[in-house]
Symmetry: C2
């Protein structure tokens, strides 16, 4: 008897500077069974970027059509460019029983949870506001005002950590990645996911 | 700011022959932070069993006195023998923030879940009835009639696996132990358990 395995959707969120990209990068190195959802954008590709790795680079009319067809889970406009999460690839992976990780800003996470109520959500927590501030300064890409703005948003976001199933502190990268791998491994053992085993085991005598 | 960490109670159950003792033995070798609750029983000790490791083997009148003094969390009669869980040590460990594993027969697990609604429960699943039968025969401690009886009980117990939070298949011992360790690690990251971090992180700027 062959029974379709259920896919597993992991929502990874956290404030700007919490290290979502670094964690995902390390996670995908350690476990290549995990599918990482890639966003669509209408902004021009930079030289070093690879289509289908960093983003799917698409034309604006394509993006707008996707929105109309409900093929974009959530989207935002930044600097006149669209950024969005494509639905069909996630649904396809989940239908194939894959584990899919979706990185998303805290604002967008609630929407995803409504669409996928079985999703497992992880809040990536900075070890302290002090360290978050240091990380944002190290990026050197933002001005002081912008950093203050991000820190203030981060506090509001951190207060929403209890909306998530799990909280992972990103202090030491390896430790945080191991925590997330443990969560994925545990969730794959959740009893609704393995209910199909009951008949398999009983009938195999 | 020092906040008391919450203890974590793990209920490990599964049919006779599913390998609860072997798994617990290996788990306690790999992670000596885990506290393992040991049951009392009035059934005769098997040759390979050690008093105070596998069970506390006690006389029936001692057991009945413990029940009268409310020192037994739950007990069950299985095959004419009493099996019970001593209460005070578990409460003490949990109050100290420890991770406690409680091995329990399937009959008794529901009662423990009622007493400790925050407990996390794991059903240890044999890979197949065929393998379960082989394992019971290898023990050489039970007669054929007794094995048939246990197999029939096992089927009823396996059908109750969905009452548990997690199902772990005990095919390869190392794999099953790693699954359980992942579950423990994940549960330690559950957001109600780490809610206290929110204020700690925000205030540390």
């Amino acid at each position: 008897m062959k029974i379709e395995k259920m896919g597993l959707l992991i929502i990874l969120s956290g404030p700007s500077g919490s290290g979502k990209d670094t964690v995902l990068n390390e996670l995908s190195k350690q476990d290549d069974d995990i599918k990482i959802s890639i966003s669509l954008t209408t902004r021009p590709k930079r030289d070093w970027e690879i289509d289908g790795v960093h983003y799917y680079f698409v034309a604006e009319n394509y993006f707008l059509r996707k929105i109309e067809c409900n093929q974009i889970l959530e989207y935002a406009v930044y600097n006149g460019n669209y950024y969005g999460t494509p639905k069909s690839i996630i649904d396809q992976w989940l239908a194939n029983g894959e584990t899919v990780i979706l990185k998303i800003e805290v604002q967008g996470a609630q929407k995803i949870r409504e669409i996928y109520p079985d999703a497992v959500s992880i809040f990536l927590m900075p070890p302290s506001m002090k360290i978050l501030k240091e990380r944002l300064f190290k990026r050197e890409s933002e001005k002081n005002d912008e950093i203050q703005r991000r820190l203030s948003i981060a506090i509001d976001e951190i207060k929403r950590a209890t909306e998530y199933n799990y909280i992972v502190v990103n202090d030491l990268l390896d430790y945080a990645v191991s925590d997330i791998r443990a969560i994925i491994r545990a969730e794959r053992q959740s009893s609704p996911r393995l209910e199909y085993l009951i008949n398999e085991v009983i009938e195999n005598d």
